[in-house]
């Protein structure tokens, strides 16, 4: 369905663009139809950049994104516009995704207008249908975004994403700015809809709990590189990479009876680019080879 092949993105900055920052380095994965791949990582690990590349919004420095075996960065404008109806993206902060000066209905009908797919009553019917699917009612349509809560907005955005009947969704931390109870609502709806519309999904998150709920497969990212990828169950039950293991170990469970992995020591890591394994500074299993070579993903 969709495949990322050796995606890399470097940002250049400074005088004469001499300094380089590898936001994403050699990331590859495949997503099958109806499957959810969860991109898991800490803030700043490059997962959002990877998501934007998948959605075709950022051009990679190297590598490609194949959608149904076609490189999306080689699309002609018309094909690209078509592709935009097939793939939708959901952002982290629902407050900012809709034009604050437009009423909800206008924002909702926008995709249809852009693609000239439907107008008038037809458009309104489709919107009504979707808006009810996400648990809202027509009274929300005449409101402005600031009049709605984050959870309601995220539903609207979900509805808008589905309006064009896409088959792929990139969801970039769609619930991280929401409260637990709202998060539960959104995730439930999301899962329902995914099943209903047979959606494939790239789900980006830093929350292990969420990943566990939603993912079929999980890819763990750290400082721009992918450290581990596998079935969600496998990753949670048998993490291989020391980083993944550390991540799982540090998970606090909402249960006062459990033993909590509280740890008040702080490791101070550097921000610089260096050779070797990205995780070496924090790794308990560090050896000489980690200093020298960057390990590659293996099965």
């Amino acid at each position: 369905m969709l495949e990322a092949v050796n995606l890399s993105k470097s940002f250049y900055y400074g005088l004469f663009q001499r300094n380089k920052n590898d936001a994403v380095k050699n990331v590859s994965f495949k997503i099958k139809k109806g499957e959810t791949l969860c991109l898991l990582g800490e803030s700043g690990c490059g997962k959002t950049t990877a998501g934007m590349m998948i959605a075709g919004l950022i051009k990679p420095t190297s590598g490609m994104v194949l959608y149904r075996k076609e490189n999306i960065f080689k699309y002609r404008p018309k094909e690209l516009k078509k592709f935009r109806t097939r793939l939708q993206i959901i952002f982290q902060d629902p407050d900012t995704v809709l034009n604050p000066r437009w009423i909800i209905e206008k924002s909702l009908s926008e995709p249809l207008r852009i693609h000239g797919l439907a107008n008038g009553k037809e458009s309104r019917d489709r919107i009504m249908e979707l808006i009810e699917t996400v648990g809202l009612s027509h009274e929300h349509l005449n409101r402005y975004p600031f009049e709605l809560s984050g959870g309601q907005l995220q539903r609207i955005i979900l509805a808008r994403a589905l309006l064009l009947k896409p088959d792929f969704i990139v969801a970039d931390e769609p619930t991280s700015s929401l409260d637990v109870s709202v998060q539960a609502q959104i995730l439930t709806i999301f899962k329902e809809l995914q099943k209903k519309f047979q959606l494939s999904c790239l789900f980006i998150t830093h929350d292990l709990h969420v990943a566990r709920c939603i993912a079929d497969r999980i890819a763990v990212m750290y400082k721009g590189t992918m450290l581990e990828e596998g079935n969600a169950e496998d990753i949670f039950s048998n993490p291989v990479h020391p980083y993944t293991r550390g991540l799982l170990d540090s998970l606090i469970i909402p249960d006062p009876e459990a033993v909590h992995p509280l740890d008040s020591n702080i490791p101070i890591t550097s921000d610089r680019n260096y050779t070797g394994c990205k995780y070496k500074e924090l790794c308990d299993y560090r050896e000489q080879i980690c200093e020298e070579k960057e390990p590659v993903l293996k099965k």
């Binding site: 900055y13 400074g14 005088l15 300094n19 920052n21 921000d271």
Partner: protein
């Protein structure tokens, strides 16, 4: 930071050269002959053709445009800006003899404006919605609506003509400074006060001010140590850019108060088509902008460590 400064300097020098060439080029292309204007201003009549030719020959006005530019470059590399067509004296001297007066006027006005504006701005910001705040706001807005030259004239009528307290023109004693500096600093202080208020209000609403309060610090300490310094940063930029307006303001004020500065001389030189003076003055003024902007950048770095270390972090 260092790199940014170097980058800026390089661009600025190009800008300086471009600006002075452009002004020269425009003057060269414009109608009017410096010989005519200058002889006219000295004798009060139009010169005859013969006189014009002699004058042009003597003041090197017959050199073609391009040659002139190369000559100017050559002189510039020796720190020479050429000779005024009008007075026959080196442009640099002409500038130096007049700049002191303009500079003093500008700097005293700026200092005066800052001394008035900052405390008032802070006062208004710390009491938003109070009488002080409303009054300063309306008065500030009103003052900003007064044309400087008109204010100068009115002050002159009031303090020189009617009350006979202050000299209306001239240069020399401290009394001569009062009217021009008050005129110049009035508008500027209103502007800076409003800026200071806005900036201060913004800062006072930030989390770290709450944090400072939660530490039990006294109000004056919070206002001056925590808020003022951070509020100053955007204001400093404006002061930097305002320097240009200050210079522009002095040009008008100099004509109103007969101030012996560069403003009036520049205006006269434009009319006299005194190419070397215009070219040289524009170059120097541009150079001053570079210095001012540099100072603004430096004070930025002094005030805002985020900028100081920007390059250092990565």
């Amino acid at each position: 930071m260092g790199k940014i400064i170097i980058q800026r300097l390089v661009i600025s020098i190009l800008v300086m050269l471009a600006a002075s060439f452009l002004s020269y080029f425009f003057l060269y292309m414009a109608p009017g002959d410096p010989a005519v204007s200058i002889i006219k201003s000295q004798t009060g009549r139009e010169p005859t053709q013969a006189e014009i030719e002699i004058f042009r020959e003597n003041r090197n006005l017959n050199i073609p445009l391009l040659d002139n530019i190369t000559i100017w470059f050559g002189m510039l590399s020796k720190g020479d800006l050429g000779i005024s067509v009008r007075t026959g004296e080196p442009v640099l001297h002409e500038f130096k003899d007049r700049f002191g007066a303009t500079f003093l006027l500008a700097v005293i006005s700026l200092v005066l404006a800052v001394l008035i504006a900052f405390p008032l701005g802070v006062l208004a910001a710390t009491r938003p919605g109070s009488v002080v705040d409303h009054v300063t706001r309306v008065i500030g807005l009103g003052i900003l609506s007064i044309p400087e030259f008109w204010l100068g004239l009115m002050l002159m009528v009031l303090f020189s003509l009617t009350l006979k307290w202050l000299p209306s023109f001239g240069y020399g004693t401290i009394y001569h400074f009062i009217l021009p500096t008050v005129t110049l600093s009035t508008g500027m202080s209103a502007l800076l006060m409003r800026l200071m208020r806005a900036s201060m209000l913004e800062v006072l609403n930030l989390d770290y001010i709450k944090m400072a309060r939660s530490k039990g610090l006294n109000r004056p300490l919070i206002i001056w140590k925590h808020a003022f310094r951070n509020a100053l940063i955007p204001v400093i930029t404006i002061i930097g850019t305002q320097f240009g307006h200050l210079l522009a303001g002095t040009i008008i004020i100099e004509t109103v108060f007969s101030w012996p500065g560069i403003g009036k001389y520049l205006v006269d030189s434009i009319y006299a088509r005194d190419y070397p003076v215009i070219q040289g003055f524009v170059f120097i003024i541009a150079a001053m902008f570079v210095v001012i902007n540099l100072l603004v950048d430096l004070s930025y770095a002094y005030l805002d460590p985020r900028i100081r270390f920007e390059q250092g972090r990565n």
